[in-house]
């Protein structure tokens, strides 16, 4: 049986009508935890699960190859192209049956395995009602990369 992708909302705002490949994948995903629930630390991201499939079909699935993901937050809608690698032996390291995690921040997303390996990093392109916004700026604080 094909695995699933757990999509984590790392933004503080809820997601309404997450879509994958043009199909609705979740009615809502709450924003991160506010710390009022016992045992759930503040900033813990909320999630939903989306099935994986070999090919795109007539429902929301993460297929092998590029997947268009729309993340409508309250402030803006994020658009991501999430690339899931092939599972052909010798070319791709990821079995179709393997569960994956997609962490979605306001300006970047990370696709990983449960063991912490990073499959891909993706830019989140934001739009306000069709007008693209610069999520790379990260609000008041600029994005920078420190190579270690």
């Amino acid at each position: 049986m094909a695995g699933k992708v757990t999509v984590f909302n790392c933004f503080n705002e809820p997601v309404t009508n997450l879509s994958v490949a043009g199909y609705s994948a979740a009615a809502t995903i709450a924003g991160w935890a506010d710390g009022t629930v016992t045992g759930v630390p503040k900033y813990t991201p909320s999630s939903t699960t989306v099935p994986r499939a070999k090919y795109a079909g007539s429902s929301a699935v993460f297929a092998i190859g590029d997947n268009a993901v729309k993340v409508p937050w309250d402030s803006f809608t994020g658009s991501i192209t999430v690339t899931v690698p092939s599972s052909v032996p010798g070319t791709g390291p990821i079995s179709l049956d393997q569960d994956l995690m997609l962490y979605v921040g306001a300006n970047q997303a990370f696709l990983t395995t449960q063991f912490g390996y990073v499959i891909g990093t993706f830019t989140v392109v934001g739009a306000l009602g069709g007008v693209q916004v610069d999520t790379e700026a990260g609000g008041a604080e600029p994005l920078s990369v420190n190579a270690s």
């Binding site: 503040k42 921040g105 990073v118 609000g139 920078s144 990369v145």
Partner: protein, 129 residues
């Protein structure tokens, strides 16, 4: 005083150090659920086991990992970041991201480690020839 929430995104137990001192004896991985969080204080001046304004060295040792820990560097710029604000670090193998509390990635450090490659399609099992 702010806090830095360090998120273990993997199912593997991690050992963290900040500026040369451990921030926990070891922290469990997630079991398919949300990342497991631990906090370290954000302070003004350098102090082991805490993040400070300026440059910081942060290491993460995956307990199933051969070799030394992954080493990351993050700069909390006092001109743009507040010692009273909270931040998050998401930890992956070889790669870590610093986010503000609203989910914006501010900095990344390291190089992502991809999963181990699968064997080639025509791979033959080792054995007597």
């Amino acid at each position: 005083m702010g806090q830095v929430y360090v998120a273990n995104t993997s199912s593997v137990k991690l050992l963290y150090q900040v500026n040369g001192a451990a921030i926990s004896p070891g922290w469990p991985g997630t079991q398919g659920g949300p990342p497991v969080m631990i906090t370290a204080p954000l302070v003004r001046y350098p102090e082991g086991g805490k993040f400070n304004l300026g440059n910081n060295t942060f290491t993460a040792q995956f307990t199933d990992q051969e070799g030394g820990p992954y080493q990351f560097s993050f700069r909390f710029d006092p001109a743009q970041m507040s010692v009273d604000a909270n931040y998050l670090i998401y930890v992956f193998r070889g790669y870590a991201s610093l986010l503000n509390q609203f989910g914006y990635v501010l900095q990344t450090s390291g190089t992502p480690v991809p999963p181990p490659p699968s064997p080639p399609l025509n791979a033959q099992s080792a054995g007597p020839t």
